[in-house]
Amino acid sequence: MGLIRAEGVTKVLNEGANEVTLVRDIDLDIDKGEFVAITGPSGSGKSSLLYLLGLLDLPTAGRILLDGQDTSPLDSAELAALRLAKLGFVFQFHFLLPEFTTFENVMLPMRRLGALDEPSMEARTRELLERLDLSKEGAKRPGQLSGGQRQRVAIARALANEPLVILADEPTGNLDTRNAQNVFAIFRRMVEEGGRTVIAVTHDTDLAALARRRVHIVDGRIARP
């Protein structure tokens, strides 16, 4: 049994007259410690699949199992709790909260989860920032950081609660080549050294080549690359 398992997952928007099928009957099994790149042309439904796997969106049909647990009967608050404890997101745009410093942004998921006491949270935040080469940026706000730095802060935040899976949606779409390669290198290191699972959506085939496994999506279906 995989860590994340999709069974016949379908997502249809605007059911009825002008409905659009984003994802069509997808079966997918991702094991712990895998680094999966989801690729495909734009509009193929690869991001939609990621949102479904990340429990951000609900499938129209089929079900998602996370760590062996069927998520289909869960309500919005229970899904949020799962996201908080077991999943970490990185998006194309950094999506940091502009009012808070780097340090506070990384602290945010831990504070919400409340599993650690304050000194442990701070220690973990320092450690994460150090690992992502951001030690000096802790007191800065997102507006004072470069694009690459922001994306690394977002990764640090995604890692805050030690999630089972990191889901990244075009994490390098907004970065130059050097920073993009750096981000993928970080993901690889997380998988190889930290034993984490990473699922990344990208349309950059060079980067996708860095991943161990590729899932190619065309018109909402898994296709041979």
Binding site: Y51, S76, L82, F89, R112
Partner: protein, 414 residues
């Protein structure tokens, strides 16, 4: 929870000017409420205290609440013949067997009783005519029923016995006539009797209707002046427990048939004005707070519009819809709380300022400056209202914020 408070405060502090305006709106409403409530409630309780203190609690009058039926109507009830232009029975006005009635009421206990004869009068001094009311009293009974004696500015109640035709005048009336202690004034009654009366006392109660229009003399003298020997037309009562006034008055009226008014009924017109006054105050101050509520609604709608991305990211991080709602309701609450605290200070300032004003007011009662009721009750009341308005104003945008679907936002951002 601390995380949510932190995010809420960060949102507000990030737009300081708009937050300050919202807080200011609430503060103004709260401040003015406290100031106005202190003024109005102060004046009203002062008036009521004065009335209870100075006037009798219950007055039995020689009238009936509704005119008695004519004998013809009594005999031929629902008859086919109608008689027009009938005069009421020629009855000698006054309370019948007043002394016996008084003795009976007194026997119940907890009540002091005094007989009076009230009647219109014109006082003439030189070329000045002033019309007013002369009240015939028995001093030894009167002092147990009203505080006339305490309110005497000059002279004593016993002075009425010491002088042949003594009269105690209300201070305002004496001023209108331009007379003082020891002066002699002509009193003319509707019965045509003229009597020279000597001023043996000046009374100042603070209640305008008494001070400007009433004079007091011995009951016997007034009976002569009004040519109504042995007549008493009002029995005045004071209760040990003033709260029983309404109930007691009703019982007495039922028992004796005469119109019997409690102090509340006697001052119904003024108390009615108070009700309207309060309604006007509460609605206008309420309106300020409701407008302040719109301010909160506005700032939150703007924040939420600008923060949809942040809301989406918080949701994707694992914050629940409830968390998002809480964040924005907290923002409303914070504005309400800040406004309330600032408003308390403002209200305290307004109250102190009003209290420092010194001027003479002559309305229903006469006072120097505003009578203020610095009650903590007003502070709590308005705080509750302001916070309720703030939370309610915040709730609608907060609910909308909670409904933001993170996928929609993330998809459109990408």
């Amino acid at each position: 929870m601390r995380v949510l408070v932190g995010i809420a405060l960060a949102h507000l502090l990030n737009r300081k000017r708009q937050s300050a305006v919202s807080v200011g709106g609430v503060a103004l409403g709260v401040g003015f409420f406290i100031g106005m409530a202190a003024m109005m409630s102060g004046f009203q309780s002062y008036f009521i205290a004065k009335v209870i203190d100075v006037s009798p609690h219950i007055t039995m009058k020689d009238e009936y609440r509704s005119a008695p039926l004519q004998p013809a109507a009594l005999v031929y009830r629902g008859g086919a013949v109608s008689l027009q232009g009938q005069r009421p029975l020629d009855e000698l006005r006054g309370i019948r067997e007043a002394r016996a009635t008084m003795a009976e009421i007194e026997r119940v206990g907890g009540v002091a009783v005094a007989p009076t004869l009230r009647g219109p009068i014109i006082l003439r001094y030189g070329s000045k005519d002033v019309s007013g009311t002369i009240v015939g009293i028995e001093p030894e009974r009167e002092r147990r029923v009203t505080n006339l004696e305490r309110d005497l500015e000059a002279g004593r109640l016993e002075g009425l016995y010491a002088t042949a035709n003594g009269v105690i005048l209300g201070a305002g009336m004496a001023e209108k006539l331009g007379i003082g202690m020891g002066d002699t004034v002509s009193a003319i009654s509707p019965a045509g009797v003229v009597m020279s009366m000597k001023v043996t006392g000046i009374v100042r109660t603070g209640i305008t209707t008494i001070d400007n229009f009433e004079g007091y003399a011995l009951l016997k003298k007034v009976q002569i002046l009004q040519n109504r020997a042995n007549i008493v037309n009002q029995i005045r009562m004071r209760l040990t427990d003033v709260t029983l006034a309404g109930e007691t008055a009703r019982r007495l009226e039922e028992r004796y048939g005469y119109r019997t008014e409690s102090w509340e009924e006697a001052n119904k017109n003024v108390l009615g004005i108070f009700v309207i006054q309060n309604a006007i105050m509460y609605t206008s101050v309420g309106a300020i707070l409701v407008v302040a509520g719109f301010g909160i609604f506005n700032i939150l709608s703007t924040v939420i519009f600008e923060k949809t991305r942040d809301i989406a990211i918080l949701r994707s991080l694992g914050f629940t819809e409830g968390d998002i709602r809480t964040i924005f309701v907290l923002e409303g609450l914070a504005v309400g709380l800040g406004g309330t605290l600032l408003g308390w200070a403002l209200g305290f300032g307004i109250t102190e300022f009003l209290g420092s004003l010194k001027f003479s007011v002559e309305g229903f009662v006469k006072t120097e400056g505003f009578v203020l009721d610095r009650s903590f009750r007003h502070y709590w009341m308005v705080a509750l209202f302001a916070l309720a308005v703030s939370v309610f104003a915040a709730f609608l945008p907060a609910r909308r914020a909670a409904r933001v679907r993170p996928v929609d936002i993330i998809r459109s951002a990408a």
